[in-house]
Amino acid sequence: MANHRIILTINGETEQVEVPSQMTLLQMLREKLAFTGTKNGCMAGECGACTVLMDGEPVNSCMVLAVECHGSTIITVEGLAKDGVLHPVQQTIIEHGGVQCGFCTPGMLISARALLDRNADPSEEDIREALVGNLCRCTGYIRIIDSVRDAAERQQVLSL
């Protein structure tokens, strides 16, 4: 079975990788490129721990083949902060205590960032719907929802 040579952008850097057909985006990120912030949870597209942005939209990276990412732009949790400054939702999830064991956090942050990118003023219902594919077994979600809402408000203040 032949390997595929792919070129893609990950967190702003161009990467060239050789991947077998069956390698998932998740495996490539964690095992080939050491972006271990993205977590492997259920491997069935249910838990959201492996969520990354692919061309600006969130995907379960366990459900995407690496070879399908040729030419794509990927952003992982490692790419959320800019010049050492945390993304607003990274800052607020710390302040609200939305991180306990932390396993769901990278995927949660990516889904939250994607929501804020498409809706700068999400209601609680919008936030719950956007995060439905990110399971958290520790927090009970309330603090996470609060942190997304707070991040939206801070972003609006910043953009005024």
């Binding site: 057909s21 491997m43 069935a44 939209e57 994607a114």
Partner: protein, 303 residues
């Protein structure tokens, strides 16, 4: 003993043909060994669980016009096979002309799964639980299928043969779904019962859809499709016939819901028992019909 809930994907070759004909030929030359790939949200789960053993996955989501949503007020809506459910939900033309389809797509899994999942993939997977299939059925959709001898149209209502089984032959690729123009004043709803409010597979799904039709005694043609209660996504003609012939009242809607209950034949499985499903079909069918009727009246009032 492995404790992995789902193992890594087994070995296969990923094929990306240049044209839809190349794809059809490859698939026809490898019957039983090759499968068309769209978003992969069902295929990858089935490969990991050992239900599928394909040697080749043939990526068809970037061929020809498979990435296009096109709407024409005379021709209707065409969704390319590669169009994701999130794009369907976000499309202003779908939202204003086919809101039932957008409503059904929103009930599928999670946002990030819908970035990849497609309506055509949902149909080709041919699960009786497919959430978007009912909406496509009640709106009279057809599929554009490309095989080794070229394109042909297959009516969605005659597409399903059983769980995971369709009329598609080796080499066939569904390149798009066509949904005709819907009459003014049409309205419907999809009610999905899962084990939780969002994101689960359906235990029972009920699509109800009404279209004004002055030729009928009741003035409306009301269609119903049921998910997860038969070997295939099920249209219920007895509901349509009953509500065409009888005035629409809370009582006739209740009777129609009983007809839906009588028409379905669910099984016991991990998500629910047959008995529970039968009871829920009656309750949810009544609810879906009442909601549809309210929406129809609201549209008639605003016209």
């Amino acid at each position: 003993m492995s404790i992995d809930a789902h193992p890594e994907l087994p070995e296969f070759d990923y094929i990306r043909p240049g044209t839809v004909m190349e794809a059809s030929r490859f698939l026809a030359e490898h019957p039983g060994e090759a499968r068309p790939l769209l978003g992969g949200t069902d295929i990858f789960v089935r490969l990991r669980d050992g239900f599928y053993h394909e040697k080749y996955l043939v990526d068809v989501k970037k061929l020809d016009n498979t990435g296009v949503i096109s709407f024409d007020p005379l021709q209707g809506l065409t969704l390319g096979a590669g169009v994701s459910m999130n794009r369907v939900i976000a499309s202003p033309e779908v939202r204003s002309n086919y809101p039932l389809l957008a409503e059904a797509c929103r009930t599928v899994a999670s946002y990030q799964l819908r970035t990849r999942a497609t309506v055509v993939g949902n149909i080709c997977n041919a699960s009786p639980a497919g959430d978007t299939i009912g909406a496509c059925l009640v709106m009279g959709s057809g599929l554009n299928v490309h095989g080794v001898s070229g394109y042909r149209r297959v009516e969605l209502a005659s597409f399903f043969l059983g769980p995971g089984k369709t009329v598609l032959q080796p080499g066939d690729i569904v390149t798009s779904i066509h949904i005709p123009v819907q009459p003014k004043g049409a309205a419907g709803t999809y009610i999905k019962l899962g084990r939780n409010t969002w994101s689960d597979l359906s235990i029972v799904g009920v699509t109800a859809y009404g279209v004004p039709d002055p030729a009928l005694a009741s003035g409306y043609r009301v269609r119903m499709a049921l998910a997860s209660v038969a070997p295939v996504p099920l249209l219920v003609p007895s509901v349509e016939e009953f509500l065409a012939a009888n005035p629409i009242t809370p009582d006739s809607l209740r009777q129609a819901a009983r007809l839906a209950q009588a028409a379905c034949h669910p099984i016991d499985d991990v998500r629910g028992s047959a008995r529970y499903r039968k009871a829920m079909v009656r309750n949810l069918a009544e609810k879906a019909l009442l909601t549809t009727w309210q929406r129809l009246q609201a549209l008639a009032g605003s016209a």
